[in-house]
């Protein structure tokens, strides 16, 4: 059987799109609650910015933006979408919050959203599908060709630890402090096709690989790959899926700004070769970032030197500064620098919990933060 070739849709290089998976929480006890169906019905009554979709469980709602060239307009669209979502949530007495995982929900109580694909996923993965009640941000970067997409996919993998540490917002999981900055990543790792993509560097080679996976029956479609970074041929993008959903929209936009600036730098300067050496240190770096955040270690795949993740990130910011001024992302990157120096969302969550000693109170404050922050 011959699998049909995946066609890579052309899109404007460095254009951006963002998806955010958000938690739907009950005001009564701060626990996750089903509400996606009612929220969607209410939001769709009138026109609004952003595009809302249900997700695998009924206590999750996904908002995605259109295609943007500038992060400022992307941020503005997210703010408009937030206003629409909060209007509906208020009517239904629901709270909406960011964060990579709910701090104390119990996965057995999650309801699978009533849609055939979600029931199939639930059937196949069993308890994993419910344990997968984790909330991520996906960032799409437009690519002019499939070959460019494959280059960007591998080159960006060098910076995955930065992206993990910047977005980490799930230190608590199932009611305990996991000691990780992001517990969401370990939940994803349980899936068979998670982790890194294979080292194929051209779109033609990727098609061969995909056809092979499909004819052997390993996958049915691109949707079955849960890689940290994957190509999205129908959008003409590379999709980065490593982020925890941040606690604020500004942070979501700032992460998009960093990815956009990095991509411009990588495409223009091609600073290192794409080969297996990139991946030799990949899982080590990934673990360090998930566990220790910016205080973790990072082994540079090219120089093989170990250094502090924070230092590597700040040095990267300096190196890509010219591209930041070209894209007008400098202000967003400045805020990320502040986060690397003074603490990410995971740290904010730990400090907040330390004050009240109550996880429901933490959830409530997360929702306030999501509502009131820029």
């Amino acid at each position: 059987m011959n699998a049909p070739l995946l066609e890579f849709t052309h899109s404007a290089s460095l254009s951006l799109g963002v998806e955010l998976e958000l938690q739907i929480v009950s005001r009564l006890d701060g626990d996750l609650t089903s509400g996606a169906a009612e929220l969607l019905a209410l939001i769709e009554r009138r026109p609004h910015p952003g595009d809302f979709k249900p997700e695998v469980t009924d206590s999750m709602i996904e908002v995605s933006t259109g295609i943007h060239t500038h992060c400022q307009t992307l941020h503005a669209e997210l703010q408009g979408a937030r206003a629409a979502l909060l209007g509906a949530a208020d009517k239904l007495n629901l709270l909406i919050c960011g964060g990579g995982a709910h701090p104390f929900q119990h996965w057995a109580k999650q309801k699978i959203f009533d849609k055939p694909r979600f029931h199939e996923v639930s059937e196949l993965y069993g308890y994993l599908a419910k344990q997968f009640t984790v909330f991520g941000q996906h960032i799409h970067v437009g690519c002019s060709s499939g070959d460019e997409a494959m280059f960007l996919l591998h080159a960006l993998s060098r910076y995955i630890p930065h992206l993990i540490a910047l977005s980490a917002a799930s230190p608590y999981y199932q009611g305990v402090d996991t000691a990780f900055e992001t517990s969401r990543l370990t939940a994803i790792s349980a899936f068979p096709l998670s982790g890194r993509a294979p080292l194929v560097t051209s779109w033609e080679a990727f098609n061969t690989y995909f056809a092979d996976m499909q004819t052997t029956g390993v996958v049915q479609s691109m949707k079955d790959f849960y890689w940290d970074i994957r190509p999205k041929p129908e959008f003409g993008t590379v999709e980065i899926r490593i982020f925890d959903t941040p606690l604020t929209l500004h942070q979501a936009a700032a992460l998009a700004a960093y990815v956009q600036t990095l991509s411009r730098y990588l495409l223009a300067e091609r600073p290192f070769p794409i080969d297996e050496t990139l991946y030799a240190v990949y899982t080590f770096n990934r673990f360090q970032a998930a566990r220790f955040g910016f205080a973790g270690g990072l082994i540079d795949p090219v120089s093989r030197q170990k250094r502090l993740l924070r230092d590597d990130f700040i040095e990267t910011l300096a190196r890509i500064a010219p591209h930041a001024s070209a894209l007008d992302t400098a202000l967003f990157l400045e805020s990320l620098k502040g986060i690397a120096e003074s603490g990410n969302d995971a740290r904010w969550m730990r400090e907040t919990y330390a004050r009240s000693q109550s996880l429901p109170d933490l959830v409530w404050r997360q929702a306030q933060r999501w509502r009131d922050s820029p």
């Binding site: 009950s26 006890d29 089903s34 007495n93 057995a108 009240s356 109550s358």
Partner: protein, 401 residues
């Protein structure tokens, strides 16, 4: 031999009410699990246990076991109302005023429709008002019991609990006024006619507020999230129930007020983490078994058709009220229909009202009992499975249920 009598008990054994309580509890739980196996709500089996017991109420050996039922019933009912009150978020009414409209509509329509039916059936006005006021509310114990039993969460569940708590409050106020009116009819002095309901309503709310204040004060002294918080709260509720009875106030209203206020004044969200778990389940079993024993199956035949008429009229009125405001309050029509089914349970508080009325005016009390208790009996049989079905259809029950 004389020595024997010193330590052997006399025969037959003297019946100890606590023994009866234990045996009945085991019986109820066993029947509950049996019901669950047939996908019926456990609480239906608890009511059935009580009804079976009530057949033996005249048996000389069992009579002393049943007499404490009333006191335990009130206590457990108060705990349930407190818990329900805590789930009532007054801020929601501010954020979505259409909900208040919906609540007023479904209760008022049910009140007017049932009242009109009773007048048409040539019942005295005072009786029509009392029956209509009792019928206007939904049953807090059935609602909370089924929601817990099925681990329900979601929009239908939240709205059901809100509307139930509100309807119970309206019903109480109208009944208070009806009492005042009846005092006037029985030519009591004007002062008494005004003061009785005022004392009842204002006093109960005041007692509830004080209880809420005490609960919140006490919680700050105990480590958050510990089970001691829950136990301390329950201790305070029990004390508050006793005070309400000593002061001749309403247990129902003060417990509900205590629940509502302890939540809305809880600025530090200390109560959110509290889980009444096992104790709440025990209270529910007690309430339903006691309801069963207090239902008088012998009276069933007498007022069967008026009671059926009442239930049909009530169900239609509540459905219209809910559907009227479904869209503006943001509820899809499908869930709104399920919500109107969910509101069908009748309140076990009717038992307390019937008793209170009978103690003040025996003749009216007897007439009230005939219609209301028959309707209640029918609903105790039908409503729990209906409610369970509705929550299931709304996809709001937990998977383990």
């Amino acid at each position: 031999m004389e020595m024997k009598t010193l330590f052997f008990p006399g025969w037959p054994l003297p019946a100890d009410p606590v023994l009866g309580f234990g045996v009945i509890l085991c019986l109820a739980i066993a029947l509950g699990e049996l019901a669950h196996r047939f996908r019926l709500p456990r609480i239906s089996a608890y009511v059935a246990t009580g009804v079976i017991l009530s057949f033996f109420r005249t048996a000389p050996q069992l009579a002393p076991l049943l007499s404490p039922a009333r006191a335990v019933f009130e206590l457990a009912f108060a705990l349930i109302l407190f818990e329900l009150g805590q789930r009532l978020d007054l801020g929601w009414l501010r954020r979505n005023p259409w909900l208040l409209a919906c609540s007023l509509a479904e209760s008022l329509l049910a009140f007017l429709a049932v009242g009109a039916l009773m007048l048409w059936l040539k019942q005295p006005v005072i009786l029509a008002v009392m029956i209509a006021a009792i019928a206007a509310s939904s049953g807090p114990a059935v609602v909370l019991g089924i929601c817990r039993d099925t681990e329900a969460r979601g929009q239908l569940t939240d709205r059901l609990q809100l509307l139930t708590a509100l309807s119970i409050s309206y019903s109480f106020v109208v009944l208070g006024i009806a009492y005042a009116w009846q005092h006037g009819q029985s030519s009591a002095p004007l002062m008494q006619m005004l003061l009785h309901p005022l004392y009842l309503i204002a006093g109960s709310i005041l007692l509830g507020s004080l209880t809420a204040g005490a609960v919140l004060r006490l919680l700050t002294l105990i480590r958050p999230g510990s089970f001691s918080q829950t136990l301390a709260t329950i201790g305070l509720i029990i004390a508050s129930v006793a005070l309400a009875k000593m002061l001749n106030l309403s247990v129902v209203l003060s417990a509900l007020t205590a629940g509502v206020l302890s939540r809305s004044l809880d600025r530090k969200r200390q109560l959110q983490a509290m889980d009444y778990g096992l104790l709440s389940r025990l209270a529910l079993i007690v309430v339903f078994v006691a309801t069963g024993t207090l239902l008088d199956v012998q009276q069933f035949a007498g007022a069967f058709w008026p009671a059926v008429g009442l239930l049909v009229v009530r169900a239609s009125a509540k459905t219209i009220g809910v559907l009227l405001f479904a869209r503006p309050s943001g509820l899809p029509l499908r869930k709104a229909s399920l919500l109107s089914v969910s509101l069908l349970p009748m309140s076990g508080a009717a038992l307390l009202w019937v008793e209170r009325t009978a103690s003040l005016w025996p003749e009216i009390g007897a007439q009230l009992a005939a219609v209301v208790l028959t309707a209640l009996l029918i609903m105790e049989c039908l409503a729990p499975p209906l409610l369970q079905w509705a929550l299931h259809r709304a996809n709001e029950t937990g998977d383990t249920a």
